[in-house]
């Protein structure tokens, strides 16, 4: 298995990186490389240029409310400053070895995955390619046949759910300047475009609201093996308790569709008249109904949906008796 040749660029600071990005018209960013390089080895949309962010120091900030894109997942999981929910979520990502290399930005920008896409070149030739990597054949989607307009590959990054649950803001930068947006708005419902990043733009950091420390949360994740496997479904919940009452509740899902799901509206409705277990059950059912996974990962979609209900209930278990 050979990686296709590419030119590696290693700019030393953000300005140089963004300038370089302006010059090159066909390139990929690489941070930890744990997602990009396996995909390159499988010849999944490789680019002739790769810009490494390894030497860019501006992206490694880590505090209670600011998390740089180049922070290693391992450091995040072991950071005393980071929010407990973020720490908990980070600690479930992949395996120790991968966490040592992988970064927060890489996890947020994780390429979507699909049984028909994450395969070797020879394998994909045997199915006549697919929409997401069609080798100029205009091939159809193999999950939902007879259409080649939408890619339904699954977004399987854990951190996104936790960031949405904590109402984080994502910050981007490009040669044209910086911009930021609520975390959930970063994503675009298509397995190929995935997010709002424009050519030459990158994620610089994520910030949490000032009162994030008053929020507690939990992350529940479905996967066959306790290490290594991507989430087949993930539910993050965060809540704020004041005087024994739930004054805020946010729920987000990942690993089920091409983008993470923000279910905070459902949650907000649920806390208006909170009745413990029953409310949790109702909310869990709502989440299950709101998410529609397709058959392109290890577990069948029906099972993943049903498990969303269980995972939501388990994430919200601390609120059972309120």
């Amino acid at each position: 298995m050979r990686m296709p040749p590419f030119t590696l660029h290693t700019p030393e600071n953000l300005a140089k990186a963004l300038a370089l990005a302006n010059e090159l018209d066909n390139f990929d960013w690489v941070a930890g490389g744990t997602d990009l390089l396996p995909n390159y080895k499988w010849h999944l949309n490789p680019k002739p240029n790769v810009i490494s962010l390894a030497k860019v120091n501006e992206l490694t900030a880590l505090s209670g409310t600011v998390i740089g894109a180049m922070v290693r997942i391992h450091d995040l999981a072991n950071s005393e400053d980071a929010h407990p929910l973020i720490r908990e979520t980070a600690a479930t990502i992949a395996s120790v070895m991968i966490r040592r290399s992988a970064t927060v930005g890489g996890n947020i920008c994780l390429d979507t995955r699909c049984y028909w896409y994450n395969q070797t070149e020879e394998w994909r030739r045997s199915i006549d390619w697919c929409h997401k990597c069609d080798c100029d054949t205009e091939a159809d989607c193999r999950v939902i046949p007879n259409q080649n307009t939408l890619c339904v590959a699954t977004y399987q990054a854990d951190l996104a759910a936790a960031f949405i649950a904590l109402d984080a803001t994502i910050h981007l930068a490009s040669g044209a300047g910086a911009r930021s947006m609520p975390f959930a708005e970063f994503f675009q419902l298509d397995g190929m475009t995935r997010n709002v990043l424009k050519p030459g733009e990158l994620v610089t950091h994520v910030t949490l609201p000032e009162d994030a420390k008053n929020w507690q949360g939990a992350y529940q994740k479905l996967r066959l093996r306790e290490t290594w496997d991507f989430p087949e479904a993930g539910v993050a919940a965060a809540w704020k308790l004041e005087g024994g009452k739930i004054t805020g509740l946010r729920v987000a899902t990942t690993g089920c569709e091409s983008i993470p799901g923000d279910h905070s509206e459902l949650a907000e409705t649920a806390i208006v008249e909170w009745s413990g277990k029953d409310s949790i059950r109702e909310l869990a059912d709502g989440v299950r109904k709101a998410v529609k996974p397709v058959s392109n990962t290890y577990f069948p979609p029906a099972y993943r949906r049903k498990m969303l209900r269980v995972l939501t209930r388990r994430a919200l278990a601390p609120l059972e008796h309120l």
């Binding site: 395969q119 070797t120 045997s126 066959l224 093996r225 290594w228 496997d229 577990f299």
Partner: protein, 934 residues
């Protein structure tokens, strides 16, 4: 008697060194044997010498024929594998580590279609490319091969058709990998796609384009590759039995998941001889295959086995890529290396067969197993591989360890357009064993008896015959069950645990070597041969063809030689890699190596020992009868001070006889029945095992976690307890993968969806339970020092133990493997609906109230324990056949004893009347030669 060889007591000097080093001229003894980390030789380690020959080692099951060869050196001691230092320091050379000067890189062009005719192949563009040295296609390899001579259906590259995605079409070799890939992609193949078969039941039907054509031996127009029918015993009695459990099993195909992908290097040397370096379990059959495919005599081929990075049966076929490398090397005149990607490993496969097994277990009102009825349809994929044997094994390997009233087996293996299935650890026995053991658990529940007691009351005794005529010598089944029962706290836990927690038991039975070699052998050619040579340095070089695939066969044979000659292991050198220097050994399959190769090694070592002892006799003046072999020293039994060092004796022997060499061979004794297929499953000995597993089941998600396993395995005698425990724990891990997560998933269009280690879910260390390995030693009369196999048998019982534990935890009987969370969750939902429970957390748990049969079986088990002990120590030497429990006289032929007793291997129309039996449908076709075809 030469001066200086006799110890002079008290004259060893005043100063005694304590650092283990010798003082020149002042040693206590004469020159000790060279080598060994300790310069001082020792007397025999009596702790390890059996009491039958004067040692202190207890022998609860009586003496063994090899007792007098035991010197207390290494047998029974936990020693690290002799090649482990190479591995842990990264110096072991695996297939991909071989580098030859001027080597080219070979790449294989594979089929993108499931099934297609090749209209044409255009290689001109590839050949014209710079850096490309040779291109080969099916035209360069017209000769067939296959691991079994009766079912040769493979070619190095496709002849006229490709039979599965990934089938080999052509190959190229070039100066580097990039050029080879480019050239491979430049080959233009014109295909005519044919309708492909993916479901194994479709393989039973007539087809317009059968995947293979076996000429007059072809079974109708179907894709049935092999069919088996065996009926033994009282079938009417079985059918009228009051307790019945019938279950329809579906088990997924598996891959071995070994670490090292296939890799091969081929080189034709200037003398015109071919050397092939490859991680092979069975170098000898590759040797034969290469000779057939390349049309050259075997003596022009040297098969060089590299270190093998895991085999488990997946490297035991001669492979087409090995032929490709040789063909390319011949065409290009340069060494050619082919390395596989992981995906190619899955395409060549040879893993466990996907199976559909209908299993009926019957018990009568006396608590006896009235019969086992099995119909097994197995999916062979595109080639025969070992499938002929697998089809038998799915049935015949569950005729023990229990005494059964009847055995009714129909089996069939079909070709489909998938990667070929083949032999995998526990070959053919695993799936049906799981079904039998779950069935036994279920009928015990119907009878209200403890499944442990039910098993103990129905075991075949030592020195008996199974219903189909297998000769069982030693069996430690009873002890295995007793030990896991006690250590797991079975009696307190069974049916007493809360919802979601369960405990289950399962047993296993496996061959210790295949009774007949794969290649039909009218001359009774030995199965294993070992040559020894000893030179001036006193060390012994062992030449053997046994393939060490990580299981430790080099260590086992070294231990056998070291034991007989009383030499430390570091004085034994193993040369087992090259067919040029190694005598033929049939290879590492069917768990045969320890049994057969160590027996050969003991014979060779005895011959060598006798030569050295004769020299010692001449030096010391004492007859070998009164001489004892200690550690590198031969001494007088009644005065250890009188003796001679190993090295001196070796020198004397060499002076006397010239070269000091010896040879030993092993062949199986004549045994078994005469019916068609009687040889399948026949073995010189059988291993037995019993496991208890404890599980946690999450009833809301369907996740199963094995929390602890007690694993008792009867390996006859643990030559190296460390290695045996390693095999038990490793088997647990592998079996656990099969029962909980591993499967080759095929997509709706028949594509293999998970040909990689991320989606082919091998359990990680996180999921690994605490395994308590328990070694049971039944002292096999024919095994080397009493040993039997420990490599495959230990895998079998973990599957049913887990399935039965899941039942104990949540009351659901498993009949589909693997028990992935989504599958189990579906079953839980269905079960909840059936018994009208809303929340799975409110599910009722099965409980146990002993019925009237329980006490009857307890008493029978106790009586049988006494019976077995007498047979073990050979106080009772009467014959025993399966059926005595049902009132038969063991000395009369079965058919004469009971009306209705059947022994049939050809079905009658009534036997096939049940349309729901799948494999039975294979008999609906008539073999072409019997239907009057030309």
């Amino acid at each position: 008697m030469a001066k200086g060889y006799r110890q002079a007591p008290g004259k060893s000097g005043d100063k005694k060194r304590t650092d283990g080093k010798r003082v020149a001229g002042q040693q206590d003894f004469g020159v000790p044997g060279s080598g060994g980390s300790n310069p001082h030789s020792n007397l025999q380690d009596l702790d390890y010498v059996p009491e039958s020959v004067g040692g202190w080692k207890k022998q609860p099951r009586g003496p063994h024929v090899h007792d007098r060869h035991i010197t207390g050196m290494t047998i029974g001691k936990s020693v690290p594998l002799v090649d482990s230092n190479w591995k842990v320091t990264g110096q072991a050379e695996y297939g991909d580590d071989i580098r030859l000067q001027g080597e080219l890189i070979g790449k294989i062009l594979r089929s993108p279609h499931h099934y297609a005719k090749i209209r044409s192949i255009d290689v001109s563009a590839a050949e014209a490319m710079e850096g490309v040295f040779a291109v080969a296609t099916g035209q360069d390899s017209v000769n067939k091969f296959g691991v079994l001579p009766v079912t040769k259906d493979e070619h190095a590259m496709a002849q006229d058709k490709v039979r599965h995605v990934g089938d080999l079409v052509a190959c190229v070799c070039a100066i580097d990998e990039a050029t080879a890939i480019e050239a491979m992609n430049a080959i233009i193949v014109d295909y005519e796609v044919l309708p492909s078969i993916h479901d194994m039941e479709d393989g039973l039907k007539d087809s317009e384009h059968p995947i293979h054509d076996r000429g007059k031996y072809h079974i109708g127009e179907s894709n049935v590759q092999k069919r088996v029918f065996q009926q033994f015993g009282d079938l009417d009695g079985m059918k009228s039995a009051p307790f019945v459990h019938e279950s329809d099993w579906e088990t997924a195909g598996l891959h071995h998941g070994f670490t090292e992908p296939h890799a091969v290097v081929a080189h034709w040397d200037p003398a015109g001889r071919l050397t092939v370096w490859t991680p092979q379990q069975v170098p000898h059959y590759l040797h034969r295959g290469l000779s057939a495919v390349l049309d050259i005599p075997m003596h022009q081929i040297n098969v060089h086995r590299t270190f093998v990075g895991g085999g488990f049966g997946g490297k035991s076929d001669p492979f087409p890529h090995e032929m490709c490398a040789a063909i390319l090397a011949r065409k290009s005149g340069r060494p050619v290396r082919i390395n596989f990607d992981r995906e190619e490993v899955y395409w060549i496969n040879r893993g466990r067969h996907p199976s559909r097994i209908q299993m009926g277990v019957f018990a009568d009102d006396e608590g006896r197993i009235a019969g086992i009825e099995t119909d097994a349809l197995i999916d062979g994929g595109a080639f025969a591989s070992f499938g002929h044997v697998t089809t038998y094994y799915n049935g015949v390997l569950h005729t023990a360890p229990y005494e059964i009233g009847a055995f009714n087996y129909t089996g069939a293996r079909v070709w489909t357009n998938k990667p070929a299935s083949g032999a995998m650890r526990g070959h053919g026995a695993v799936n049906s064993r799981c079904a039998v053991e779950v069935g036994i658990d279920a009928v015990s529940e119907q009878m209200n008896v403890d499944p442990m007691t039910f098993r103990l009351a129905n075991l075949l005794p030592p020195h008996s015959r199974t219903i189909t005529g297998f000769r069982v010598t030693s069996t430690g089944m009873r002890e295995c069950l007793a030990k896991v029962r006690e250590q797991s706290g079975w009696d307190e836990k069974f049916r007493n645990l809360p919802l979601g927690k369960g405990i289950g038991v399962g047993c296993g039975f496996f061959i210790s070597g295949s009774g007949l070699p794969i290649h039909w052998d009218p001359e009774n050619f030995p199965h294993a041969t070992v040559h020894l040579q000893c030179d001036m340095d006193g060390g012994v070089t062992v030449h053997t063809g046994a393939a060490d695939i990580g299981q430790g066969s080099d260590t086992a044979v070294a231990q056998a030689v070291s034991e007989v000659l009383a030499l430390p292991l570091d004085m034994i050198r193993i040369r087992s890699k090259e067919s040029d220097t190694a005598p033929v050994d049939l290879g590492s399959y069917s768990s045969r190596v320890t049994f057969m190769n160590c027996n050969a090694a003991i014979k060779a070592a005895c011959e060598l020992r006798d030569k050295v002892m004769k020299a010692a006799w001449e030096i010391t003046g004492y007859n070998p009868d009164v001489l004892v072999l200690g550690d590198r020293r031969i001494y007088y039994k009644h005065d250890p001070a009188v003796g001679v060092s190993w090295l001196e004796a070796v020198h004397k022997a060499q002076a006397d006889v010239g070269s000091l060499i010896a040879s030993g061979a092993y062949r199986t004794p004549p045994m078994g029945g005469v019916h068609k297929g009687a040889a399948a499953g026949l073995a010189p000995a059988y291993s037995f095992s019993a496991y208890v597993a404890e599980v946690d089941v999450d009833v809301e998600t369907g996740f199963v976690k094995i929390t602890k396993a007690w694993a008792a395995h009867d390996c006859g005698k643990a030559l190296n307890p460390l290695a045996v425990k390693g095999q038990i724990i490793g088997s647990c891990h592998m079996g656990m993968g099969q029962v909980l997560s591993e499967e080759m998933k095929y997509g709706r269009d028949g594509h293999l969806m998970n040909p990689d280690l991320l989606d082919y879910k091998i359990m990680s260390v996180h999921e690994m339970p605490d395994v308590v390995p328990i070694i049971v030693e039944s002292n096999d009369p024919e095994g080397p020092f009493g040993a039997k196999e420990a490599g495959e048998g230990p895998l079998l019982p973990i599957l049913p133990a887990v399935c039965n534990a899941i039942y104990d935890a949540i009351g659901i009987r498993i009949n589909e493997l693997p028990v992935t969370p989504d599958r189990l969750h579906k079953r839980i939902e269905k079960h909840c609906r059936k018994i009208k429970v809303d929340d799975p957390l409110d599910l009722p748990v099965p409980r146990f109230e002993p019925g009237p049969l329980q006490q009857v079986l307890v008493e029978r088990a106790e009586a049988h324990a006494k019976r077995d002990h007498l047979r073990d120590i050979q106080e009772d030497r009467s014959s025993y056949v399966n059926g005595v429990l049902f009132g038969f006289d063991p000395d009369k032929p079965m058919a004469e004893q009971k009306e209705g007793w059947r022994e049939a291997v050809v079905p009658t129309p009534q036997d096939l009347a049940d349309p729901s039996k799948r494999a039975a449908r294979a008999w609906g076709h008539v073999e072409r030669r019997h239907r009057g075809d030309e």
